[in-house]
Symmetry: C2
Subunit: 745 residues, 2 copies
């Protein structure tokens, strides 16, 4: 008989947050299912629990049957609203902290250490000069130019190292999981991966603090991705206040999805972009309008909270407000824009590859043991080089805001960008900054501090775009009457080309190449810049960039990290098989651990449950006919209810599951039909692989049973599908944290 | 044995477009499956055909194995691009035609009959007066005031009746299916409903022409929905040029989805909104990034084409450009906005109910036989009443554009809206117009002309919103120092409240109440108005309106029409059962027409195929064990290949499908295992109803088989699920065009 052990050498840590809470369980469905970190939830089973719970609520007698479901719904929306408000306030608070820490690298407020440069100078009229905010040279009254330069550079570099180092120490000592962006993990969790350790209050605290420190240190990283992680931690924490959302893994994930949308909403000041990010990138709202709706509400409320706190004092959600010379654009501009799209696709793919290579090198070299030292070195190098280049010295968000601005004689000329005599120099510096940032970002995204990839990518793209815009503008100024510029006014002093908008286009292209997002990206860029009138060029450019990028490698940066970590996440790709059928990925019956209806004894079953940590077991009868699927939890619960006889009797009793059990006398059998799952999907062996993948993608399945004329022939699990879909990626599992497969038959 | 006929009294029309094309078919999968209009496609089966086709293309020897798939892909994108360009140009041409016809009701161009008022007056400077465009009174040199008024009113009313009447005659004589919006049918078609007659070139032509006439007639209808239908007809026509897209029903639907997105893109000048409309409302891109991507490209290209043709001479996509007094809004404004949201939800639900009641009355009264007369009466009433009310006289699109404008002393004051002494009168007139338009729209949406519901709904909402805005503004002007207005400047001459933006809010609320869209609606409104800085109020208002509307009735207007027509369309709702299991909707074995493996003879099988028009039959063996699912097409094809013996022998031969066939001697059996479908999904009887509905929603299934320990127990078809989900709607099937169920077991 095919009773084979696949991996019985795995030892499990108890999940510290849930497993110890309850002991003996009274009925099949009335206990909380426990999943170990690293396993995959059984979506259909959890839905079943939720259904039972709702049914119990609704079937209460009298008023309670109406009141309880209403209260339940009210609690849910209260949780959504609280989450939105919490994330909005946390995001605003982070912005304030980052601004203060970042400003501290350049100077301080004379009348109070804890004011940032904006807060310090409030109440100053437009023409006045703010004397309250002093650079360190002024404040410490160093008068020699050399001394001042040295002082400024030293403080700049030293504080950068101090901030980054503290962030790394915090992360390494208190919450090692709080490093990196968190998006790959959130994607995996929302897809059913169990990773409760990733959402603890400690991680929330350390990630938020560490994020503020690492952003302020001037490392080439952004706060957007980690903010989504922070939002999810917050929702997880809040949902503990409400029983029910915490107990049901599917409900928990629905709340987390709404929180993630709210996180994006706050990160970019983009409520609509948040919802669409949830829809497209997190792939969680598919067909669940209820969940999308929650994301919508959470996003809107988070944005209201952010606007109410008003961290930048502008009362605006649009972070990088763009004002264009004209609302129209000319057909010839499509040439540089499509060129930018191609550049974005190529450079994005290169950035992903470089980042993957560095991550592999880090894991396999001496760096692996010295994460804090690595952070300190990277921040020292970043700060030293950045200080020398005018565009790299300021914080990336400030750089992007300035690059997106059009030249306007009535406004200050940031970094000399609008100086027409320095165009060549500017173009060179912009390209240099872009290349530098590509290398620094590829290294930084993965070191032991919280780090997002969005903002640096926008920065790289904005530099490239502005450079291309300047080139186009110079060409137009040099040859204003060339046929290609015919649609522009012939007088070159009239503006025709907006280099600021080229920067927006460049940012879109680069983001498209790195993240491979499409619609949510376009919406986020609108809401970020207010550039609604230029929707078409942005769409065309994102399209080009994604096409070029996909030709150079299918995976976006998050998909690459998910594959390297080997999380059980099924990418929402359109999988097309080459004629293979389901049996291709199937684990055949001979390799499965099965329970035999009416043959396996109670003693053997107990032995099974000890020996194998699998989530569930197929039950078949003597002729291999498929009887059902018994989960470990249901078996445990059913066995727990049994009156225990002495071991000898017990071991002679047969376990029965099907209606055929009456062939066996009552005293020789144990009836366990309740241990069978209701929601089990069967397919024929000849079912095309495409259908199998499709069902896993759309129904969040954990396993599909293959039968032929009633006989069990094999089993496909989510892990098999994940392996199939990541097989093209050469470094799958290179950074795996947990042993895969450990609870999947 | 349970051989029962369910409906053998139905006679089928042959599908005139496809059925006559081919006769005998050589192999199982190499023929085009034919579906009758009114049936539902078998999504998995079609996917299988597509897979086989791709496999054949890729497995060609040598260069052809690379070249053919590349060509295939190039053809596909060429089709997408052509569709986009075609829809963009068609939309622009329609705009021009509508503008000319509409202007004709007021006057004509002196130097050319075929110029509209804009084209007639091109080249006129901003200060100059256009003398070339003359009202009919001027042109015909009628000088008495009474005579002029009478002339203008008569021409207005007579031309309205003439336009609407011609549209109705065109529709009734040439293409009766071209009336109404078309969105419900497109939704059903995209969901798998077969309705090829709905997409013919005739319909394309008549719908486009009729649309121009009916919009120009001033009836309370819009062009947006019908334009989506026109776009789909165009894609269908173009796809005939490309073999393969036409033959495969799933491929065809993917192209139609992209075309529908492009249609919305052109209708609203909203490329991003088009994609999101496809995503949310048409529910077709779910998890199919490839299809979403096509919609993205088609939308973008259609918008480029529209902008290139530039029908309005503004070179802008934003149709109703909004400019606000300030970018910020005050917290107290949430009160009137949420009030507007509630009004929108209530009025939207009322409009839906009224429309449904009128549709039922039309069907069951004498009106049913006199569609053209009804159109003429409605247009006469509409024109007569509208001429009397200043806000109703202009075309709805013009009214909306003006209502969205802020008052600005430097610009003309449309309709006296900005006259501060006429505020009370304006508020009264605006409410009156809104009520009038609700009634007229409820009647017009369903008469025998092409008619969309979007624009009239926007018009109603804009009137309401502007009225509420004027009320708020009056309150502020009367009590500028009240505590609620504290956040406004205390000087009432400074603007604090923007009634124009209230009109935008009102339009959002009303649209939310009528269509129950959420995200795509918000995006369309952005792109329509450019009001990006006010994303939050619009989101909050759409939320409120949808909540209130859903409380008054779950269905949006399209869902209501789909239910009345009884199209097999599964709404993408979050279905939650109350503890029911799948058997609740299941048709049990005893009611099914089955083939018995090794028992049914060839003669009986032939008899079966003649007697029942079902799409497929379950095959079971002697013990009711489920062997497989044989489609009618596959059976036909396999029987066609047989060498025919004499009838007597034939009738004694048993049909065999399973590997068990070897029990029967070769000369006594016919082997038909190839007739079984590969993609058949089995569930246990205890599977929760929620899972069953979910699988139909997400996998586009046609049927699910229920088995218990290998034995067939029943069958659930798409039609059963549709009936389940529309059971709450009291008028399901009231307007049904085709007999339902006619090909579903």
């Amino acid at each position: 008989m095919p009773y084979r052990s696949l991996q019985d050498d795995i030892v499990y840590e108890e999940d510290q947050y849930e497993l110890t809470e309850d002991g003996r369980v009274p009925s099949k469905h009335s206990f909380t299912p426990k999943y170990q970190d690293g396993s995959t939830i059984d979506w259909l089973h959890e839905e079943g629990l939720e259904r039972e719970r709702n049914y119990r609520l609704q079937s209460q007698a009298g008023v309670r049957g109406v009141l309880f479901p209403t209260l339940e719904s009210a609690r849910l929306w209260l949780l959504v609203i609280l989450t939105g408000v919490g994330i909005g306030i946390a995001g605003a608070w982070l912005d304030v902290l980052v601004k203060w820490l970042g400003d501290l690298r350049e100077g301080r407020c004379t009348y109070g250490f804890f004011y940032n440069s904006n807060a310090c100078c409030t109440g100053i009229g437009p023409g006045e000069i703010c004397n309250e905010w002093k650079s360190w040279g002024d404040y410490l009254e160093v008068n020699s130019i050399f001394g001042r330069s040295l002082l400024h550079a030293s403080i700049y570099v030293v504080l950068a190292i101090a901030f980054a180092g503290s962030a790394a120490v915090l992360v390494e000592s208190w919450a090692p999981l709080a490093f990196h962006t968190g998006i790959p993990e959130i994607k995996a969790i929302l897809g059913g991966y169990v990773f409760d350790k990733f959402l603890t209050p400690w991680i929330l605290l350390i990630k938020a603090l560490g994020l503020a420190l690492s952003v302020a240190s001037g490392l080439s990283l952004g706060k957007e991705g980690p903010l989504v992680h922070v939002a999810c931690c917050m929702a997880y924490l809040l949902s503990r206040l409400f029983k029910g959302f915490q107990q049901n893994e599917v409900q928990k994930r629905r709340m987390l999805a709404a929180a993630a949308a709210a996180g994006v909403s706050v990160a970019f000041g983009s409520p609509l972009g948040g919802v669409l990010f949830g829809l497209e990138e997190l792939d969680t709202f598919a067909n669940e309008s209820e969940v999308m709706w929650r994301g919508f509400v959470a996003s809107a409320i988070a944005a209201v909270a952010l606007q109410w706190v008003n961290p930048f004092g502008t009362a605006k959600l649009v972070l990088f407000q763009v004002t264009f010379v004209s609302d129209t654009w000319r057909a010839f501009e499509l040439i540089p824009w499509i060129a930018l799209g191609i550049m974005g696709g190529v450079l994005g793919s290169l950035l992903i590859r470089l980042n993957v290579e560095i991550a592999l090198y880090r894991r396999n070299s001496i760096l692996h043991g010295w994460p804090v030292m690595e952070v300190i070195s990277v921040s020292a190098v970043t700060a030293s080089i950045s200080y020398l280049i005018v565009f790299a010295r300021v914080q990336t968000s400030e750089l992007v805001a300035n690059l997106f601005q059009e030249c306007d004689p009535t406004k200050p000329d940031y970094h000399g960008l609008c100086n027409p005599t320095a165009t060549t120099q500017n173009i060179f510096l912009l390209f240099l900054t872009a290349i530098l940032k590509v290398v620094l970002t590829a290294w930084t995204f993965g070191i032991a501090v919280p780090a997002g990839i969005f903002l640096p990518t926008i920065g790289i793209g904005a530099c490239l775009g502005r450079a291309v815009g300047l080139i186009t503008q110079s060409l137009y100024r040099a040859y204003p009457t060339a046929w290609i510029f015919l649609s522009c006014p012939p007088d070159p002093s009239v503006r025709c080309i907006s280099p600021g908008f080229y920067a927006v286009i460049g940012a879109s292209a680069m983001l498209g190449g790195v993240t491979r997002m499409t619609i949510s990206l376009v919406v986020i860029l609108f809401e970020l810049t207010g550039a609604l009138s230029h929707v078409l060029p942005i769409m065309i450019c994102v399209m080009t960039s994604k096409w070029v990028g996909d030709a150079m490698g299918k995976d976006g940066i998050y998909a690459a990290w998910i594959a390297m970590r080997q999380y059980p996440w099924i990418p929402p790709v359109d999988y097309r098989d080459g004629g293979e059928i389901g049996t291709n990925v199937m684990k055949p019956l001979s390799e499965l651990v099965v329970i035999r209806d009416g043959i396996t004894t109670l003693g053997e079953l107990r032995q099974f449950l000890k020996q194998y940590q699998f989530h569930g077991f197929p039950v078949i009868d003597g002729h291999d006919e498929f009887v059902g699927w018994a989960t470990r939890q249901a078996l445990d619960a059913n066995l727990g209810r049994l009156q225990l006889d002495d071991t000898a009797t017990e071991n002679s009793k047969k376990c029965t599951f099907s209606p055929n059990r009456f062939r066996i006398p009552l005293h020789e059998r144990v009836d366990l039909p309740e241990a069978l799952e209701e929601s089990i999907i069967e397919l024929r062996q000849e079912a095309p692989q495409e259908l199998v993948v499709n069902m896993f993608q759309k129904l969040n399945l954990r396993q599909i049973i293959f039968t032929q004329a009633g006989k069990l022939t094999g089993l496909v699990t989510k892990r098999d599908i994940v392996n199939l879909l990541t097989s093209h990626f050469p470094h799958t599992g290179a950074l795996a944290r947990t042993q895969p497969d450990h609870d999947e038959q």
